[in-house]
């Protein structure tokens, strides 16, 4: 078994009296989709924030690509290859989809301090950006401002950005949210292929998608992981059924 790409150990985070993350440990192995499910308010987004570096944990360790990253900021973690999509906001809503992805390409090339050459004629930005948009099926909408894209298209854009960054792992927080059934199906197919690119830590409410995609599932309830295992193990776990899937038995 290959080493984990991402490993979280004994992570804790409280907001006042509320324990949003309580001694959470999980890892992400090459090529897998590890789904994180749990009811609203369980602390899934809070956990993603801590892994990405937008929120500092109270205690615990985070290793990425075999290196501790707990002391690093968002920018450094992103530069190491930790890709992340967002639940609500777009990167640059006024920019076209293409320019959003071009910005990611630019970041990957490590070249934001260039002041004179116009980006709109720069094939080294445009071509990789278009390639990413094509992969997520958004090429025909490349020139549309991100703010005018539909909800589902914005999620596709998020993935295109993550692809363009060449991420070593993806943190996806509810990528299916706000998508119609058809959008969810095509995104499910896409994520299935994306895992070959880099493993995915997937927070998702859409259980059909989770059960179709996940190699492993962890269930988070009130900040604690109450079960972790394959889809079948988790589905039949009595505690999960009681706490989360709403089974009275």
């Amino acid at each position: 078994m290959a080493d984990a790409v991402l490993a979280v150990r004994n992570l804790c985070k409280s907001f006042g009296a509320l324990k949003a993350t309580e001694n959470v440990s999980l890892d992400l192995k090459p090529g897998e989709i590890h789904a994180l499910i749990g009811p609203n308010g369980a602390g899934k987004s809070t956990l993603i924030h801590q892994i990405a570096g937008t929120l500092a944990p109270d205690s615990g360790d985070i290793d990425f690509l075999g290196r501790p990253v707990g002391h690093l900021g968002v920018v450094e973690r992103a530069r190491m290859g930790l890709g992340r999509s967002f639940q609500v906001s777009s990167l640059a809503p006024e920019f076209s989809a293409l320019r959003n992805v071009m910005l990611a390409v630019q970041s990957r090339q490590g070249s934001s301090f260039r002041f004179f050459r116009p980006v709109m004629g720069d094939a080294s930005l445009i071509e990789p950006a278009m390639a990413s948009l094509e992969r997520v099926g958004l090429a025909t909408r490349a020139r549309v401002p991100a703010a005018e894209l539909s909800h589902g298209e914005r999620r596709q854009l998020e993935i295109a950005i993550a692809l363009a960054l060449g991420s070593q792992a993806f943190l996806l927080d509810e990528p299916m949210a706000g998508m119609g059934p058809e959008g969810s199906r095509s995104l499910t197919g896409f994520l299935d292929r994306l895992r070959e690119e880099a493993p995915i830590l997937l927070v998702e409410h859409d259980m059909d998608a989770v059960f179709a995609l996940a190699d492993r599932v962890s269930v988070l309830v009130y900040g604690r992981i109450i079960a972790s295992g394959t889809v079948d193990q988790v589905r039949t776990d009595p505690e999960v059924r009681r706490a989360y899937l709403g089974d009275p038995a």
Partner: protein, 328 residues
């Protein structure tokens, strides 16, 4: 090739401003040459602010600091040149000079250094705090100038003879206008290049969503700081020109009124628009001159105009004429 509406408006603005002093001379009203020069200089200062405010969303209420530092650079160097005494900077002594090229370089350098110092601290905040902290820094420079008797304190500092540019007699008003106009065009060119560049993309994205920009591995702090420094440099250059126009520098160049006027100019003309600051400066000077001649309370009407822009024409004059901004 099709020319966009905004380009047509920009060219028109450029031509109007350029034609104005020549027309004034034709009509035998040389005073209007000074007004046009004032438009060009305030426009230049506002182009600087527009880089931070329009592209980066950094609402600086302290750009008077850079404007004034540029002005004092010109005034101090000229006064030392006039007195024939070198300027003692502790580590080394700088001879005074009346060469504008040197004065401009010193002004730009001083503006950049001050912007770096103010930016490093201010950019750790955002929103109203950023506005307040930039205001506070500018007020510090204002009180420093007032309490510094060596260079005139409250009374300010006169420049006995306007500084010179090799080969150009800057004492002739139209020549000095053309010098300022050329620098304005240069700054606009720099603004346009930066806006379309990789740096400009990162800067404009930071305005739209700082956190997201960080999450793709671009540090918005560093981008904002560099933008703030360039912005301060441009505004400092205009301050040096302003000092030479009036042949006088005073702490009022550093006061919060000046910062406020620069914001008003950018907002009137169109935040983030290439020629917005110039349109705003032209409007502002016209207001100041026409209404200022009619009533003491011209600023009340300026306020009304500003209110109208904020309520009905979000993109300022340029936005009103050219429609919404397109990013491609």
């Amino acid at each position: 090739m099709t020319i966009s509406r905004e380009t047509a408006i920009n060219v028109t603005l450029a031509l109007i401003l350029l034609a104005m002093p020549f027309l004034a001379l034709q009509l035998g009203k040389p005073f209007y040459v000074t007004l046009a020069t004032r438009m060009a200089i305030l426009g230049l200062a506002a182009v600087g602010l527009n880089l931070a405010l329009g592209l980066g969303g950094l609402v600086s209420f302290g750009h008077a600091a850079f404007f004034g530092v540029g002005g004092y650079a010109a005034g101090i160097l000229a006064s030392h040149a006039f007195a024939g005494q070198p300027l003692n900077l502790g580590l080394f002594a700088l001879p005074g000079t009346n060469q504008m090229l040197v004065v401009w370089s010193v002004a730009v350098l001083a503006g950049g250094l001050l912007a770096a110092a103010i930016g490093v601290i201010s950019l750790r905040t955002s929103g109203v705090y950023f506005i307040m902290i930039t205001l506070a820094f500018a007020q510090m420079t204002y009180y420093f100038a007032i309490s510094w008797p060596a260079y005139g304190g409250e009374d300010g500092l006169s420049i006995t003879i306007r500084n010179v540019v090799p080969g150009i007699n800057t004492l002739i008003p139209i020549n000095y206008f053309l010098v300022c106009y050329a620098l304005l065009l240069t700054a606009l060119l720099i603004f346009a290049l930066i806006r379309g560049s990789r740096f400009g993309a990162a800067l404009q994205a930071s305005r739209q969503n700082k956190l997201r920009v960080a999450s793709i591995g671009i540090a918005p702090f560093r981008i904002g700081l560099v933008a703030f420094i360039i912005s301060g440099m441009i505004t400092a250059l205009s301050g040096a020109l302003y000092a030479d126009l009036n042949r006088f520098v005073s702490p009022s160049m550093l006061s919060w009124h000046m910062s406020g006027e620069l914001i008003i100019i950018v907002v009137l003309g169109g935040v983030g628009r290439l020629w917005g600051p110039v349109a705003g400066a032209m409007l502002f000077v016209v207001f100041e001159f026409v209404l200022g001649g009619l009533t003491e309370r011209w600023q009340f009407f300026l306020g009304l105009a500003l209110l109208a822009v904020v309520l009905f024409a979000r993109g300022g004059l340029v936005g009103f004429l050219a429609g919404r901004m397109r990013h491609g």
